[in-house]
């Protein structure tokens, strides 16, 4: 019976959701003891910037890795633009907390690496990589090797590499988690400006509430294990946003307090 209903479900989802990302009834366990995600159902509209926040170990990264196709779906259905997740799909780009630059490639060759793997035309990916490096503030560092770049600069290259892929869905796993506070704010600004130009779907994992509110259209709060969605809060701050101006904006602080309350409840439960 379950096979039939699942097939029906996914057929349904495929028919109605070729332009959105749908997670339905997701349940995931690692071994016997770790229940990483429990009954997670979410739908992301086209071009939406969504953050998932929650205490560490709440399964937010599991959700992202499932979307990326890096781990197999156990229960529930996932559909990205009408198709099930699969690692290496060209309409999905993935970014990690560690910059993952190849030390043997220059900044520019790193930035175009993904596009090159995906067979983008050489001249096109070169000019795109150069443009993006300039956009992330690394003009003049195109020929530098990663060892010569600071932490923040390396993560800027990783951002450029991610945006150089023309994927409509970006999956980001705490991309600024390893940076100091100052650099983090700068990179948030860069990410916002890149995103504003193209409005792709972003699923952004973070444990930093301020970051989530600053960047997102929607903040999803997950509870500690087993990870459940306990709040889904729209962030109606006007765009374009300025990261530094937001720090002084009362509306931003009201939202912060609201989301924080939800997160606290999630931690208690």
């Amino acid at each position: 019976m379950s096979i039939v209903s699942e097939t029906l479900n996914s057929a349904n989802a495929a028919a109605t959701s070729s332009d959105r990302i749908v997670i339905d009834g997701l349940d995931h366990r690692f071994g016997e003891s770790v229940h990483a995600a429990s009954n997670v159902s979410l739908t992301f509209a086209p071009g939406e910037f969504v953050s998932i926040v929650g205490p560490s170990g709440c399964g937010k990264t599991t959700v992202l890795n499932l979307l990326a196709g890096l781990i197999k779906v156990q229960t529930g259905t996932l559909s990205i633009f009408g198709k099930p997740p699969k690692a290496g799909r060209h309409d999905v780009a993935y970014m990690l907390a560690r910059d993952c630059l190849f030390p043997w490639l220059t900044a520019e060759r790193n930035a175009e690496f993904g596009a090159e793997i995906r067979g983008m035309d050489r001249a096109k990916r070169k000019s795109r990589a150069r443009e993006l490096l300039e956009a992330v503030g690394l003009k003049g560092f195109e020929e530098s090797y990663p060892k010569a770049l600071s932490h923040g600069m390396r993560q800027r290259v990783a951002l450029a590499r991610t945006f150089c892929l023309e994927s409509p869905l970006l999956l980001m796993d705490e991309p600024f988690g390893a940076l100091d506070a100052q650099t983090k704010l700068q990179l948030e600004e860069v990410l916002l400006s890149l995103w504003m130009k193209e409005r792709r779907n972003v699923v952004f994992i973070t444990h930093d509430l301020a970051e989530a509110i600053t960047l997102s259209d929607r903040v999803i709060v997950m509870s500690s294990r087993p990870g459940r969605v306990i709040a889904d809060i729209p962030i109606d701050l006007p765009r374009p946003r300025s990261v530094s101006a937001l720090q002084k904006d009362p509306a931003y602080h009201r939202l912060y307090a609201q989301v924080w309350e939800q997160l606290e409840m999630g931690l208690k439960s």
Partner: protein, 262 residues
């Protein structure tokens, strides 16, 4: 004094002073040696005479070219041993990576072969490959092979898991991952294996030549020892030390060019 432009000058001065000090030291060393040998404080039969060493070198390098000829034989054998040993080592590493079960199966055999003191194979290789260069090549290659094999396996295994994950999400094929990610990450480790492998190839070749050969610096060395030409032996040792240094230096230069990014 605090003028910063004087600092590099001082460093330069120090470098020159060190070079001068080394030359002075060597001059005194050889003069002392000459004195001790000429006055038979120590029998020159054991330690040779520096002036004789110089004469032998001059003769062998510029007059009858005997040292040059043997040097060419030794270098040729070393190069062949190094090339064969390292290509075979890297090829075996690729087989191990592709079929891990084969690696597990053959692990003990390889360990046993590697643990065997390779010079003990020299008589066997002489029997198989004769007195010519191929028995020396075989000995040198057998040393290089295991060194390069283990470094290549270690290098390929050391690929960062993050790099592999990222490449997967980008949609890289197995071949692309190997050529663009695994291989470049393995290069530094493989290279340190190659450098060591080259020195061991030379060791194997010289060892083989000492045992039995028609040509080569090792053969020359054992001939000179057999006929008590101690000064000649010292000149060959000098050539060998220079040869080893040059080989290492060449590898360092190649490595620097290849691994600019490090």
């Amino acid at each position: 004094m605090s003028n910063p432009s004087t600092v590099p000058n001082f460093e330069r001065f120090e470098t020159i002073a060190l070079v001068v000090a080394r030359i002075v030291f060597l001059a005194f060393f050889f003069l002392g040696w000459e004195y001790v040998a000429r006055n038979r404080i120590v029998d020159p039969l054991f330690i040779g005479v520096p002036s004789q060493i110089a004469k032998f070198l001059w003769n062998g390098l510029f007059v009858d070219y005997s040292i040059i000829r043997d040097l060419v034989w030794t270098l040729g054998s070393t190069f062949l041993a190094f090339a064969i040993g390292s290509v075979a080592g890297i090829a075996t590493a690729l087989i191990f990576i592709t079929w891990p079960l084969f690696e597990r199966f053959s692990g003990p055999f390889f360990s046993a072969l590697n643990a065997l003191p390779r010079i003990a194979l020299a008589p066997l290789f002489l029997l198989w490959f004769g007195l010519g260069i191929w028995s020396k090549v075989a000995l040198g290659a057998s040393l290089t092979y295991f060194i390069v094999l283990s470094s290549a396996v270690a290098g390929i295994r050391s690929t960062s898991a993050d790099h592999l994950t990222l490449s997967r999400t980008m949609g890289a094929s197995k071949r692309q991952i190997f050529m663009r990610v695994t291989l470049p990450s393995a290069v530094p480790t493989i290279f340190s294996g190659l450098r060591l492998g080259l020195i061991y190839a030379l060791l194997g070749v010289i060892g083989g030549e000492i045992i039995a050969a028609e040509h080569g610096l090792g053969q020359l060395l054992s001939f000179l020892a057999g006929s008590f030409q101690i000064s000649g032996m010292f000149s060959v040792l000098l050539i060998l030390a220079i040869l080893g240094t040059v080989l290492i230096e060449v590898m360092n230069i190649v490595e620097k060019r290849l691994l600019r990014w490090q």
